[in-house]
């Protein structure tokens, strides 16, 4: 029965080919440093899942954001766990992505033919940091509010374009309901969508070129 179902599905989906092309690939001898990329991916998935749960209760308005977080922490069943994981995984993701970048740097895996993988990776690093920056404001507490005030100020110190950047980030001269709305939208739609897209490209390139080997004396 099971074999029949499998055969039927395989005919239509090409499961066997998928297995051959995605999973049953040869690789050079790896070690634990090679797990950092997949760890970044795992953390990204965790963030997506816990983040989706959080949006069920979170309200992006200055009047309710703080209280909705309090509600998640104190009233919603396991809300504290979901938020706790989202909070810590965010920090960990920045760390893991950064260390992954370092390992790629030290093993010189960014060289031919993997230059584009590196370039896309830089995009991923920046997006990950952007997720951290936009997410930090959402609880709308003192720390978040003032850190974001200073953060956007720094972005506003760019010569000539600074004023424009500042206004674009804040949606006005000061932090306001508009800023929160903007950061929320960036945090749950724009940045994750871009991130998912780039992760896709990144993974395609990795499968295409295969994992690089650790350099030896001849390299």
């Amino acid at each position: 029965m099971w074999q029949k179902t499998y055969a039927w599905l395989d005919e239509r989906l090409g499961l066997g080919d998928l297995y051959k092309n995605l999973l049953d690939r040869p690789e050079p001898h790896g070690n634990w440093w090679n797990t950092l990329g997949s760890a970044s991916l795992f953390l990204f998935i965790i963030q997506v899942v816990t983040g989706i749960f959080l949006t069920v209760y979170y309200t992006p308005s200055p009047d309710h954001a703080y209280d909705s977080i309090q509600y998640i922490m104190n009233e919603v069943a396991f809300g504290w766990l979901i938020r706790g994981i989202h909070h810590w995984a965010a920090s960990l993701m920045v760390l893991v992505v950064f260390v992954h970048m370092l390992r790629v740097f030290y093993t010189a895996s960014y060289k031919y033919p993997r230059e584009l993988t590196w370039l896309v990776g830089i995009g991923l690093l920046l997006l990950t940091i952007g997720m951290g920056f936009t997410g930090y404001l959402l609880p709308w507490h003192q720390m978040a509010y003032w850190a974001t005030t200073v953060g956007t100020q720094i972005a506003g110190s760019v010569p000539f374009a600074g004023e424009f950047i500042l206004q674009a980030l804040r949606g006005g001269p000061d932090l306001s309901a508009l800023t929160l709305q903007r950061f929320f939208s960036a945090h749950i739609w724009m940045l994750p969508a871009l991130l998912a897209l780039l992760v896709g490209v990144h993974l395609y390139l990795i499968i295409k070129h295969g994992e690089s080997h650790f350099p030896d004396k001849e390299d």
């Binding site: 995605l22 999973l23 049953d24 690939r25 040869p26 690789e27 050079p28 001898h29 790896g30 090679n34 797990t35 760890a39 795992f42 953390l43 965790i46 200055p62 703080y66 922490m73 104190n74 504290w80 766990l81 938020r83 706790g84 994981i85 909070h87 810590w88 920090s91 920045v94 370092l102 030290y106 010189a108 960014y110 060289k111 031919y112 230059e115 590196w118 370039l119 830089i122 951290g132 507490h141 003192q142 720390m143 003032w146 850190a147 005030t149 200073v150 953060g151 720094i154 110190s157 760019v158 010569p159 932090l175 295969g210 994992e211 080997h213 350099p215 030896d216 004396k217 001849e218 390299d219």
Partner: protein, 462 residues
């Protein structure tokens, strides 16, 4: 890179693949173990460390010291140190835009800048040296995040140490790396490694010195009340401090007494339906924030009153008013103000009197308020301050002014004119509160629980 090198690279890779492993199951196995480990760590962190709390955002409280996420701390520190440098330190965008921009640009274009096919570590000492110093710098600056650059006494020793560790040494090391790469062809590798190690050690030493010289101030972390009951209690404490003088401990005051400038002003009770049913939470917060300046209530928002209340604090007061006074809300179980006194038990300052005074008296009896300079903020002040210090609280004497006034007897001078009115002026205390104060003074005002226990009549054996 020419076609020949590319072919060599690809052939080498093919050979490595032949002696390698399979993605499934070899690599996946490790990936899954790491993922499980991460998941476990996350659950432990979420459960046992939790999420650090902060009070609600308050745009008017500009005194708040911002603290970004930890992975931005090094940037903040870098900006602070950079600002110390004479002349260029004043050109902000050099540090905020240009320098980070250059580094990000170099990092992005790395595969094109470093286009050589060499991959072995010893053949890449310069980029590895630069990156290692960079990463070490980032880590050290993160550790230094809380060390000030200029001390209160104007000394900039700490700032200098930090600038040396975080900016000067790396810059010198980088200059040397570049010099070696172009001038000392044959020894470059050895020199680069030695320089990197020495710079790294020096950076750590200077950072350590700055950390060792810095005495962190005792940080007082504001507890954020979580449960509804905690928020109500927090609200009541704030109400007791800021509002009792005019509105009374139960909000029922209709004639203000004992407040300079507002003596005899008629107001409406704020604990009834008139106020609580007509004003929603947001409007109540607004009343507290902006006050009723024309009617005599000063604003409490931080924007108008530097010693005022934050947004969270106003929210707690409103929560308190709702749950304690508004009959549409049912309050959760709340601990009584002080534990009930048994027959013959003597109350102590710590356990009984301090909460009573905080609730009923401190609003008027604290520095800055006009109440005969009788400050009830500490044990010593309760015993010994005020214009009539010495008469207010006398051990074992029912004629202590405090005991007379709280029992409805004003103090008169020789000619029969009232010098001290009844206390609190805008209402009377509940019998159990009066009883506690009477027992405390009659027994000699014990401060600690142990002293009070020693004075208590022994509990009859059961």
């Amino acid at each position: 890179m020419n076609e020949e090198t590319k072919k060599q690279i690809n052939q080498k890779y093919e050979r490595k693949l032949e002696h390698g492993e399979r993605f499934w199951p070899d690599s996946i196995f490790k990936d899954v173990i790491v993922a499980l480990g991460i998941f476990l760590v996350l659950i432990l962190l979420a459960t046992f460390v939790g999420v650090h709390d902060a009070p609600k955002a308050d745009p008017s409280d500009t005194s708040y010291v911002p603290r970004p996420e930890w992975y931005f701390l090094f940037l903040f520190k870098f900006l602070a140190l950079y600002g110390q440098i004479p002349v260029v330190g004043k050109i902000e965008w050099l540090a905020t835009v240009l320098i980070p921009g250059i580094f990000m640009g170099l990092l992005t274009l790395l595969p094109f800048i470093d286009g050589s096919p060499r991959r072995y570590y010893a053949k890449r000492t310069m980029p590895i040296g630069i990156m290692s110093i960079m990463v070490l710098g980032i880590v050290l600056l993160t550790f230094l995040a809380d060390v000030p650059t200029v001390l209160a006494d104007g000394s900039s020793l700490l700032g200098t140490l930090q600038t040396i560790a975080g900016i000067v040494i790396p810059v010198i090391a980088y200059a040397l790396f570049i010099f070696y790469a172009y001038k000392t062809k044959e020894n470059a590798v050895r020199l680069t490694i030695i320089t990197a190690l020495i710079s790294g050690v020096l950076m750590i030493v200077f950072t350590g010195a700055a950390l060792a010289l810095h005495q962190p101030p005792a940080v007082e972390t504001a507890e954020v009340p979580h449960t509804l009951a905690d928020q109500i209690v927090a609200g009541q404490e704030l109400y007791s401090l800021y509002c009792v003088e005019c509105h009374g401990d139960d909000g029922a005051t209709t004639v203000i007494e004992g407040v300079q400038g507002l003596e005899g002003l008629e107001i409406m009770a704020i604990n009834g339906k008139d106020v609580l049913y007509t004003l929603n939470d947001a409007s109540l917060v607004e009343v507290i924030n902006y006050g009723r300046p024309d009617a005599g209530m000063n604003p409490f928002g931080k924007a108008y009153n530097p010693e005022g209340l934050t947004r969270s604090q106003m929210d707690y007061i409103v929560t308190f008013m709702r749950y304690i006074w508004d009959d549409r809300f049912e309050a959760p179980e709340i601990k009584p103000l002080f534990p009930e006194l048994a027959e013959g038990e003597v109350p102590s300052y710590e356990v009984h009197i301090q909460p009573i005074v905080k609730r009923y008296c401190i609003s008027c009896h604290r520095p800055g308020k006009d109440s005969n300079e009788y400050y009830m903020d500490t044990y010593a002040n309760i015993l010994n301050s005020g214009e009539n210090a010495g008469k207010n609280v006398i051990a074992g004497d029912m004629n202590s002014y405090l005991l007379q006034t709280i029992q409805g007897t004003p103090i008169l001078d020789a000619s029969g004119a009232e010098i001290i009115g009844v206390m609190p002026p805008n209402g009377s205390l509940k019998p159990d509160v009066v009883d506690a104060l009477v027992r405390w003074i009659m027994a000699g005002m014990p401060e600690t629980e142990a002293e009070a226990d020693a004075l208590s009549a022994p509990t009859p054996a059961p």
